[in-house]
Point group: C2
DNA sequence: GCAAAAGTACGATCGCTGTCAAACTTCGAC
DNA sequence: GTCGAAGTTTGACAGCGATCGTACTTTTGC
């Protein structure tokens, strides 16, 4: 367990300047992934992969986290064997003002 | 050419109370459809199907308009042989405040 | 060291959707 | 009425992406 090894397990994260609207929308259009974002937003704190409420297997969950991470929506880091997930709120707001607000705010009319 | 016939050609439109976020996002995730919405928004007036700048054939365009209409994003009506398209801005804002703003406002950071 | 826990990687399905071409319908103009 | 313009409908096709199971890796705790 060295610092180097830990870094080697840190996946790549895009910078704000690299955020792409198309990619972000493709990430958010999936209900499971949108639920992940919503849970992170309402929790207000980082959540480990295994602690989300999700109707899919672990391998599928890994896929969803990867899509969210590569779009810039979440930041992932390890704590022991657990992978923590943090919502990149401020950075998303900087790139796409109002977008996350519109999606995390409960809708007015719809059922 | 009677009033009845004209009505018979009017396609069904959902009411605001029936708008569904999932459906709206699925409509807006497609670049061609998002471009349609953007063009309507910046034009500020109704546009006929044939007057949009689109990289697809007519039959594909028909499909895209249908998806947008069924999601509640546009309202369609006939004027002669031309089918006009109106952005349902106010109704969308009522159902999902800030969503269209976030998508029609040019992004800050991204390329 | 070893086993268990937590995720990841890889292949394989499988359904959905964006696309087109071709045939058809509707309306307006002449 | 005939013709052209404008869209629609239908069927086919291709590619993508969500899903799962299985095998693998990494770390912690004993």
């Amino acid at each position: 367990m060295s610092y180097y090894v830990t870094m080697g397990r840190t996946p790549p994260h895009p910078e704000v300047s690299q955020f792409d609207l198309q990619q972000v929308l493709e990430a958010l259009v999936d209900p499971v992934r949108r639920s992940i974002v919503t849970q992170l937003d309402s929790a207000g704190e980082d959540i480990k992969c295994g602690d989300f409420d999700m109707p899919v297997t672990k391998s599928t969950a890994t896929h969803h986290f990867k899509v969210l991470r590569e779009a810039g929506l979440i930041r992932q880091y390890y704590v022991g064997t657990a992978r923590m997930n943090a919502l990149r709120r401020a950075e998303m707001d900087e790139a796409f003002p109002g977008l996350l607000d519109a999606l995390t705010t409960p809708a007015r009319q719809p059922a």
